[in-house]
């Protein structure tokens, strides 16, 4: 098929098919876009999420925060992975965050962790923020109206 035919076909689409299609579509572009991806859990990222992500990026995996966590021995999911799983495995992606279960929610905000972080990650505050976000994502995931992929 030559280039000429391809361009002619695209010109037809531009002049006729595409505008016709636009007339038939329902909802705004944004509504259709978000509707496509809501069930996949691919939602927009708020500036709050971004700020938390940037703060969490300062983690250099040294593990010092673990020594200050009052709960670490008590909660199996923290005990097994170490507190800084909160920044690494769970916070990198909404899918992981939605699955964090009790590992983040158990945080008692004793803030024994924060003063120990060499790079100044606001550990306790992030854990609380991620826990809240994780709970919301998990609830959205389980919503019968929108099954996961």
């Amino acid at each position: 098929m030559s280039k000429v035919r391809s361009y002619a076909w695209l010109a037809w689409r531009a002049a006729v098919s595409h505008p016709l299609r636009g007339l038939r579509q329902r909802g705004s572009g944004r509504e259709r876009f978000l509707g496509n991806y809501a069930t996949e859990g691919l939602a927009p990222t708020t500036s709050g999420d971004r700020a938390a992500a940037e703060a969490a990026s300062a983690c250099i995996s040294c593990g010092l925060c673990e020594s200050g966590c009052a709960l670490r021995g008590a909660i199996p999911s923290i005990r097994d992975m170490g507190l800084h799983a909160a920044f690494r495995l769970y916070s990198k992606s909404p899918e992981m965050l939605a699955r964090s279960g009790d590992a983040l929610a158990a945080c008692a905000s004793c803030t024994g962790c924060e003063p120990l972080c060499p790079t100044g990650v606001p550990v306790a505050r992030l854990v609380r923020a991620f826990a809240a976000r994780g709970g919301a994502l998990d609830a959205a995931r389980r919503d019968p109206a929108g099954p996961g992929r």
Binding site: S17, R30, P44, S47, R50, S57, I60, D80, T119
Partner: protein, 551 residues
């Protein structure tokens, strides 16, 4: 086993364990041919391991031949069918930008044309289970992606599939092996054996054990990718190709859920996209004449990529870049054409005229079309052999683990592992995640979390060492992304090395040598982008591994 192979006879010998080589090996084996695959390093060590990680539907071909787009989209659909666990959606935004104060009529026409073009691609999306595009106004665009710079005029959205190219390549090789192929990694083909203008055999040497042998065969498939010209030269064969170096950067975490198409300073199209647990910025395309075994990302390439993305997403300059990685594309040779304008089509070269009848070379192509490309080569090989074989079924038969996608929550509850870990196992192993977790039932120590960046437990490392053609510690980078994240192996390198050593029978010295090799490979990737927190990470990594570990 080794004895039998040293002087074995095969219908086909495939050189190169990238996705094309593995795909051909699989197709040949599934059709009933005996196959030997030789890969001089690890599977997916070349371009297949450094791709952008997408299987797209060939949107750019609608201007030249929309049948190519149709085929590409259909084949992307096949890949989804045979490895459903391995694909994930990436919605892309194509913002409408102008660097002038006001949008000109030409700008608006260009944007409309883009909208029409992407809207036309919607016709092909059903072939690969893709979602239709949408036109966003400026306000809608900022609501959906606030990190974009001000002054944009809206966008059109585009749906593509992301994939872990290294796992895809591995699964093809494992499938080939399951159908009787012999797959040898870290084994180099040291020479072709020719008689009367035909290729009759391949000599090989195992780089790790020194073992060598010769395989008799009637057909040799050269799938050595970026190494083709060099390989060809050392065997007195011309493989015309324009090797194209491509560099990508990884960010520490997903910047968001949507990819963003940007324009680089020289007008080339680039992207910033979320991919599994990180973000990827890509890519460059430059003619590369040097040794494909000896690549590095240059400061110019890194800055070029960051600058390109920063033009639309200024905050990327504050993001933590964890590493740079690279590969060499096997682009079809054309003289007098800019790299970007070269065809991404593929070609099969036959070398009969050069006195090497029976040798087929794979040139060009892209990750998304590997299966169709492999089918063509296999058809050609079958014709050369003149054998009656089973029909091609690579588009139907699931790859290992691709027959069913388990529910992570159920696996998590049954085996007592965190759900997030189960989800990562399901992503990488599909239905075989159950088998990996059975190791945990037998030995609860295997629940130990080895890597917190990627959610790797000891069981997965052991599984890979036992079943996934792991011979060196660095192979685990490609199997389960060990030490590939920002931590550079700070937590995971030594425990993983200890597990691999136990499985593969390494001595303490060998363990240390493998650990040193893994760290060296990681250093090469982190070196060009050391900055900010990643530099602090590097200080810690060196203190522990070099200072304390003496590696």
């Amino acid at each position: 086993m080794a004895g039998a192979a040293n002087q074995g006879t095969f219908d086909v010998v495939v050189l190169g364990g990238g996705v094309n080589g593995a795909g051909v090996a699989r197709d040949c084996a599934m059709r009933g041919l005996s196959v030997l695959l030789l890969e001089k390093q690890d599977l997916a060590s070349g371009a297949s391991g450094a791709s952008s990680g997408m299987i797209h539907g060939g949107i750019r071909y609608m201007t030249s031949d929309r049948r190519v787009t149709e085929l590409a989209s259909r084949d992307a659909g096949y890949i989804r069918r045979i490895a459903p666990h391995l694909t994930f959606r990436i919605p892309f935004l194509i913002p409408f930008a102008t660097h002038r104060e006001e949008a000109t009529l030409l700008d608006r026409l260009t944007w409309y044309a883009t909208e029409v073009y992407v809207g036309t691609y919607d016709l092909f999306q059903p072939l690969k289970g893709g979602k239709p595009s949408a036109r966003l106004t400026a306000d809608e665009l900022y609501a959906v992606e606030p990190s974009l710079r001000p002054g944009l005029h809206g966008a059109v959205t585009l749906d593509e599939w992301g994939i872990d190219g290294q796992r895809l390549c591995l699964l093809n090789a494992l499938s080939a092996a399951a159908h009787g192929a012999e797959v040898r990694t870290w084994t180099e083909a040291t020479g072709l054996v020719r008689e009367a203008g035909r290729v009759v055999g391949v000599r090989w040497r195992d780089a790790l054990t020194g073992e060598h042998g010769e395989a008799r065969t009637g057909v040799v498939v050269n799938a050595t990718g970026g190494w083709s010209p060099r390989w060809g030269k050392s065997n007195g064969i011309a493989v015309p190709m324009r090797p194209g170096k491509g560099v990508h950067l990884s960010l520490d975490r997903r910047h968001g859920n949507y990819g963003i198409i940007c324009t680089a300073v020289d007008g080339r199209q680039m992207f910033l996209m979320p991919h599994e647990m990180e973000s990827i910025i890509g890519t460059t395309d430059d003619d590369y004449y040097d040794d494909p075994d000896d690549l590095d990302a240059t400061a110019e390439e890194v800055e070029y990529l960051v600058e390109g993305v920063a033009s639309l997403v200024p905050s990327v300059r504050q993001s933590r870049i964890t590493r740079a990685w690279w590969g060499v594309r096997t682009t079809i040779y054309e003289y007098g054409v800019e790299e970007d304008d070269l065809s991404r089509d593929h070609r099969i070269l036959e070398h009969g005229a050069e006195g090497t009848a029976g040798l087929l070379s794979f040139v060009g192509g892209k990750l998304a079309s590997y299966r169709a490309q492999s089918e063509e080569v296999t058809d050609r090989a079958v014709a050369l052999l003149g054998k009656a074989v089973l029909p091609c079924r690579t588009h139907e038969e699931p790859l290992p683990g691709g027959d069913e996608v388990p529910v992570p929550r159920e696996l998590a509850e049954r085996h007592g592992v965190p759900e997030a870990i189960a989800a990562r196992l399901v992503y990488r192993h599909g239905s075989l995640a159950r088998d990996v977790l059975r190791l945990v039932d037998d030995d609860p120590r295997m629940k130990l979390v080895v890597c917190r960046d990627e959610g790797i437990i000891a069981a997965e490392v052991a599984w890979a060492a036992r079943h996934e053609k792991v011979r060196r510690l660095q192979d685990l980078r490609r199997r389960c992304r060990l030490a590939v994240g920002g931590c550079g192996g700070l937590d995971c390198a030594r425990p993983a090395a200890q597990i691999a050593a136990r499985e593969l029978g390494w001595s303490a010295d060998q363990l240390r040598a493998e650990l040193a090799d893994l760290l060296e490979v990681g250093w090469r990737e982190r070196r060009p982008v050391l900055d900010g927190w990643q530099l602090a990470e590097e200080e810690l990594l060196r203190a522990v591994h070099r200072g304390l570990g003496g590696l």
